[in-house]
Amino acid sequence: MHEMSLAEGVLQVIEDAAQRDHFSKVTAVWLEIGQLSGVESQAMAFCFDAVTRGSVAEGARLEIVATPGVGWCMACAKSVPMKEVFGECPDCGGYQLQVTGGTELRVKELEVA
């Protein structure tokens, strides 16, 4: 979803960091994308290339770090892995799940020159 505006958000984070930490070239970006964040990695990679053109991050390698989805099953009273936001509990098969992890969209670190 809306990967283009999110990619612009990624670039904004990078440009803010460039100003703060005084670097003028980014060669690699580690981006954490949660499995339940609703962000498509492929679409993000495509948009990242498009929005970074002419910026400090032009041509930078995008390393996507996928984090697994985790939910709290109210019936089982424990954390269980989740593949989708509407997924069921792998143990009891119920849908009483609250998402507790895997919704991240974070710029983790940059390799800069």
């Binding site: 283009m4 505006s5 904004q12 930490d21 609703g38 948009c47 400090v56 936001v85 710029v107 390799e111």
Partner: protein
């Protein structure tokens, strides 16, 4: 999807006015040309730890909006749905019933001021944000709209988002709650097709229920799908046309407004008590 539409800046208009030819209450940089100087020949590289949320900027604007709304005791809702779910009709009816003096509206659409015009006809203040190519409202746009919108203390603010069940889910605008509107002329399985939106909302309005006799729509299935994605979601069945369920919806709104106004009064009372205590302290010091 936005991958093709762009969602870029540059075409956003607030009440028909483009760009930033208006007051800025906060700082942000629009152009960063000075950063675009490339180092000739890349030498040694180093790592920079960032650990920053991509939506952090939007979330900061959202928090500023939320603080501003709390100061005024305004209960704000972000109305989200697919296009054609009946949001604007439901809004007009709600304004009729609540009274136009206690409601203000921010309308989001890609183009035209059709919706804001419909709201203005009810007598309530409304401001139109045109997102241009953008597929959702963000907190920055709403912050600017709030600067221009006449908003009474203790009012209800309805933000009608761009008709889109995907993108608006991720963008906090500073609202108290997201309200998702699903009409019975859509599929029962919308909640599991677009789970992010139904998970982000705390209330689902099942709209156009007056049409149920003419349709083969399974209300229970739709609600079950919504609860599968969001076990805590509340559901109200409404029809702006027949008036069915409007009482329950208005009760929900009045309760939210009362809660927000009470929180503001409490804040004011605490501040007054502090001022009184400081004044007493000052008198003591003078004596």
């Amino acid at each position: 999807m936005c991958v093709t539409c762009g969602c870029g800046e540059g075409e956003v208009k607030i009440d028909g006015v483009a760009g930033h030819a208006h007051e800025h209450g906060h700082d942000h940089s629009h152009a960063q040309g000075d950063l675009h100087s490339h180092a000739p020949g890349v030498g040694q590289t180093r790592m920079v730890q960032i650990e920053q949320d991509v939506l952090a900027k939007n979330n900061a604007y959202a928090q500023a909006n939320r603080d501003k709304l709390a100061e005024r005791g305004v209960f704000a809702l972000n109305l989200v749905s697919s296009p054609g779910s009946g949001k604007t009709t439901l809004l007009c009816k709600t304004i009729d019933l609540l009274g136009s003096t206690s409601v203000a509206v921010i309308e989001g659409d890609q183009q035209t001021s059709q919706d804001a015009d419909r709201i203005c006809a009810t007598g309530a203040p409304a401001i139109q944000i045109n997102t241009g190519k953008g597929c959702h409202l963000d907190a920055h746009m709403v912050g600017h709209a709030l600067q221009q919108l006449p908003l009474a203390d203790g009012a209800l603010l309805m933000i009608e988002n761009v008709g889109n069940l995907v993108c608006p889910a991720a963008f906090d605008l500073g609202e108290a709650h997201k309200v998702v509107i699903l009409s019975v002329t859509e599929g029962e399985d919308k909640p599991i097709k677009y789970p992010d939106m139904f998970r982000a909302a705390s209330l689902m309005l099942l709209n156009k229920v007056d049409l149920l006799p003419h349709l083969t729509y399974d209300v229970d299935a739709a609600i079950a799908f919504a609860r599968r994605v969001n076990p805590a979601i509340r559901v109200i069945q409404v029809s702006a046309t027949s008036g069915q369920g409007m009482d329950e919806w208005l009760t929900y709104l009045r309760a939210g407004m009362a809660r927000t106004a009470a929180a503001r009064q409490q804040t004011v009372a605490v501040l007054k008590a502090r001022v009184a205590a400081l004044e007493a302290q000052l008198q003591q010091a003078k004596a």
